[in-house]
Amino acid sequence: MTKSTKTILWVFFLFVALVQLFPLIWLADFSFLSSNEFYSSSILKWPSAPQWQNYINAWVDGKFLRYFINSAFITTVTILLTVVLSLTLGYAFTRMEWKFRSVFFTIILLGIMIPIHATLLPNFAIFKALGLTDSYLGLILPYTAVSVPMGTFILTGFLRSIPKALEESAIVDGANIYRIVFQIIAPLTAPALVTVVVTTFLNCWNEFIMASTFLSKDALKTLPFSVMNFAGQYSSDYGSQFAVMVLTSIPAIVIYAIFNEQITKGVTAGAVKG
């Protein structure tokens, strides 16, 4: 590629990146304005006096820390459960030999296609009957259930591409099935597991409909919910609403920035092999 086409490409990408990021820049900019400044005619506006109060409102009345901890806890446990279940299911579907394996595999894969919204209401009744609503488990279990089908799909694809030789030699050495799965196979599937972790993280961290239907105790609510709650509480204060949106977005962006490379590697490995 010539230098000039490279420059053109560069400029083009820069432009698209700006367009792509503009809404977020605007959001951050306006989160420092007072509500009456919102209606000025300029597209971006240097705040005459930055409204730190907006962020104080968002942090205190938005109960940011509380909801953040809830989100972090629920997401972490969900990811752990999803990884373990996807790995064991994936392994049982690809390596183990049993009667109804393809039937169960198909059933689990259906989970990718079934819309959660179609099952939301009966789901609520069932979880309620089991006494699971209004507890962390009341979100962790459905989140895991929704994430496992995709996780299993990714892992079965990946496992099929791994030769059996390693396991066979491990068996000869006398390893039992659990050691094989968790000590030999798990590290090998790391790139696929990263993909599972990332998709599960994004889905749970940002999930909204189930959180708002299943939880009522304030102490258990998660971050996306706080945005909705806060918008009702501060309906006449756009600045504070924007501040809470910025605050909510920061953790996910930071986590993404940290794991960016692993994500690409994971997806690349998954896409190539699966």
């Binding site: 919102f38 064991t88 169960f104 009744a125 940002n206 909204f208 409909i209 993404y256």
Partner: protein, 296 residues
């Protein structure tokens, strides 16, 4: 060796928790939905009556809103397939050619919207597109395109397209990442061989890249269709299906029928048809896009 892979106890331990959880969240609710779909009731716990297939016949033969919701999903899906994905493929190829540090930076930036919560995305775009204080119309003004100023989400003729635009903005990074990953798997020799044959530029990619990406494209198209059908949160939080049903989707319609209109039996009939449609769409798009028998 067989003994290890036949270990009944292990199979049970590996499979049972997953299946149990899956049954609780998917199978049992679907059975319950099926039960309610044959009844006329305001909500669980209220008096209900068995009405046979009445909910289904009403839905299929008399409910234009149901069909509108389905049509919107198909349009959205086609929008993803014919707009979002070609753009994503194009960007993936260009990024791959660009290489170096810049490639990594741009890849990172393009993915950022994918990590933003759908609640934030919805509220943010609602504000951005607000005719009174939103930046979008101000931008049009600045560019001398003031005549295009418009309540983008508030007009039934532009609402669906605007929704597609928002969803492309939010989901573009995923497509890009997958296609980019797919490209990395294409060996350079393929290109070298093709350039020896005299192909170059656009033609080269059409002949080499796109066919080699086809496994990725197949999966992505299926997923795009499913995403379109399952569309819920963004619509629910921005237009709630309006104005005048122009952005109505099955999940939103179902939710409003169950909650706002208290037609619980009817809503469950929508649920069941919704599931059938999703399964059917997956099956069809698999059939249509797959020429060779690669596994999904």
């Amino acid at each position: 060796m067989q003994k290890v892979f036949n270990n009944k106890m292990a199979i049970f331990l590996f499979v049972f928790p997953g299946i149990l959880l899956f049954s609780l969240t998917f199978l049992v609710p679907i059975v319950l939905s099926g039960y309610y779909s044959f009844r006329d009731t305001l909500a669980p716990g209220t008096p209900s009556a068995f009405i046979g297939f009445a909910n289904y016949t009403e839905l299929l033969f008399h409910d234009s809103r149901f069909w509108l919701a389905l049509r919107n999903a198909v349009l959205l899906g086609l929008g993803f397939i014919f707009i979002q994905h070609p753009i994503a493929i194009f960007f993936a190829i260009m990024l791959d050619r660009l290489g170096g540090k810049a490639e990594k930076w741009f890849r990172t930036i393009f993915f950022i919207p994918c990590v933003i919560s759908v609640v934030v995305i919805s509220k943010m775009w609602l504000s951005l597109l607000d005719p009174t204080f939103g930046a979008f119309n101000k931008l049009l003004d600045t560019l001398g395109l003031g005549f295009l100023k418009h309540a983008w989400l508030g007009d039934s003729s532009t609402a669906l397209v605007t929704m597609l635009f928002i969803l492309i903005w939010a989901g573009f990074g995923w497509g890009l990442l997958f296609y980019y990953a797919g490209l990395k798997g294409i060996p350079d020799e393929m290109y070298e061989a093709a350039s020896l044959d005299g192909a170059s530029g656009f033609k080269l990619h059409l002949r080499i890249t796109v066919p080699l990406l086809s496994p990725v494209i197949t999966v992505q198209i299926t997923l795009a269709m499913i995403t379109a059908l399952k569309q819920m949160e963004t619509v629910f939080l921005t237009t709630n299906g309006g104005p005048g049903d122009s952005t109505q989707f099955l999940a939103v319609y179902l939710y409003n029928k169950a909650f706002s209109a208290s037609q619980y039996g009817y809503a469950n009939a929508i649920s069941i048809l919704f599931i059938v449609v999703c399964l059917l769409a997956t099956y069809l798009s698999n059939k249509l896009t797959r020429s060779d028998a690669t596994e999904f």
